[in-house]
């Protein structure tokens, strides 16, 4: 019984990374994925900001799930999400003004990030608060990991740097196309290809292992 309870909490968290990976598997929240991944620092900041909003909105929506009438649930969710986004926006403006200026328009646009709405609609409004928070954390960190990976690749190829540190020798051969919009689409496309191929290979191996048993 205790084990089952534990599973109900930990499973939504773990699913966020592979099975429900928002970026590569569900292809949600594509706008920030493409827009802010020019440097690893931007990617990780955006990811963490989204994770915070996702956790808080999942918690609140889960707590209010029996109170909000289902007819007006979408506007109610939008209002909840927008409130937390405003909190993030103001906090970032105060404490990390440089990053806030770089990410600019894309911070308020977390409101329309489909990942948050999708988790509210498909998970938080049917589940208890604790699993909902864990789901928000898992999916949020899955998103953070994915966009950080994309931005590391783009920064490495496009600017010859890693988290803002230039790599000697490589920065002379930087291909600036990768930090331009075209590179965003290209890297994202190829990353999905790799992710799909890896998941497929893994599933195939597991199926074969199952047969051998």
């Amino acid at each position: 019984m205790k084990n089952e309870k534990f599973r109900a909490v930990i499973e939504p968290f773990a699913n966020g990374f592979v099975k429900n990976n928002p970026t590569f598997r569900l292809v949600l929240g594509t706008c920030p994925t493409l827009a802010v991944t020019t440097s690893a620092m931007n990617g990780i900041t955006m990811g963490l900001a989204t994770t915070f909003v996702l956790m808080c909105s999942n918690l609140l929506i889960s707590l209010l799930r029996n109170i909000i009438p289902s007819k007006v649930r979408i506007p109610a969710y939008i209002l909840i999400i927008a409130t937390f986004v405003t909190v993030v926006d103001m906090t970032m403006k105060k404490f990390i003004p440089d990053l806030h200026a770089t990410l600019g328009l894309y911070i308020p646009l977390i409101v329309v990030n489909c990942i948050i709405m999708a988790r509210a609609e498909s998970f938080a409004n049917q589940n208890m608060p604790l699993p909902s928070v864990m789901d928000g954390l898992g999916v949020g960190l899955g998103f953070t990991l994915s966009i950080t990976l994309i931005s590391i690749v783009r920064e490495f190829l496009g600017a010859g740097a890693f988290f803002g540190m230039t790599i000697p020798g490589l920065s002379d051969f930087a291909m600036s196309i990768f930090i331009m919009p075209a590179g965003a689409f290209l890297v994202f496309g190829f990353m999905i290809v790799c992710f799909n191929a890896a998941v497929k290979a893994f599933e195939k191996r597991r199926a074969q292992g199952g047969q051998a048993k």
Binding site: V27, L28, T30, C31, P32, L34, A35, I74, P75, I78, L79, A82, T83, V85, T86, D89, M90, L105, P108, L109, V111, V112, N113, C114, M117, I177, M180, P181, A182, G183, A184, F185, L186, F188, G189, F190, I192, V193, N196, A197, K200
Partner: protein
């Protein structure tokens, strides 16, 4: 150079909403399988972005007057969502022909970040000077969206008959196509006025 013309060319080509600002990628990837649906979506977006630009610009003046600019995000998203509902009702009542053409696309636009994006851009960028520029910026942005999604739909229709490697099917090949489009649109950024 005429500022009006600059906003139009900037919105459609130089700072194309999809290919250089990455706003409205979800419908761009989702509704670009056929040219007719892409065109319908595009026209609906032009319409909503034009109307939303005017309404949010005017509301922002009120917010500034009341000194509560920090409510921008919350007010804008609610206005956009409410506006789309109202538009749907008004169109259904007064112009059924237009409604039957755009109706299916209207609810989808609520989650289109291009609409909220243009609303925020209108109060922060060069277009903030007047209501007319804000409106123009919205319409030009919508037109840029339409151009991009139409080109993409045309390419995807051709791609249906071609032999694509298994892991590339679906989103990846669409993204790589978009990358090539973005490369050609990047040439417009060398325009200087």
């Amino acid at each position: 150079m005429n500022f009006t013309l600059l906003i139009i060319i900037n919105g459609i080509f130089i700072n194309n909403f999809i290919l250089s600002q990455f706003l409205g990628i979800c419908p761009f990837l989702g509704v670009s399988k056929k040219t007719e649906t892409a065109l319908g979506m595009g026209i609906a977006v032009i319409f909503v972005m034009g109307v939303a630009s005017v309404v949010t610009y005017a509301l922002n003046l009120l917010l500034i007057a009341a000194k509560i600019e920090y409510m921008q995000t919350i007010v804008f998203i609610l206005v956009v969502a409410g506006l789309i509902q109202i538009l749907e009702i008004v169109l259904k009542k007064f112009t059924p022909a237009l409604y039957s053409a755009l109706g299916v696309y209207l609810p989808l636009i609520t989650t289109n970040c291009a609409v909220l994006g243009v609303a925020i851009m209108n109060v922060t960028s060069l277009a903030r000077q007047s209501l007319f520029y804000a409106f123009l910026n919205g319409v030009a942005g919508g037109a840029g969206f339409t151009v991009a999604i139409l080109i993409m739909a045309g390419i995807r229709e051709k791609m249906q008959t071609s032999d694509i490697p298994e892991p590339f099917k679906g989103f990846p090949i669409t993204l790589i196509t978009a990358s090539l489009m973005a490369m050609s649109f990047a040439a417009f950024s060398s325009f200087s006025f």
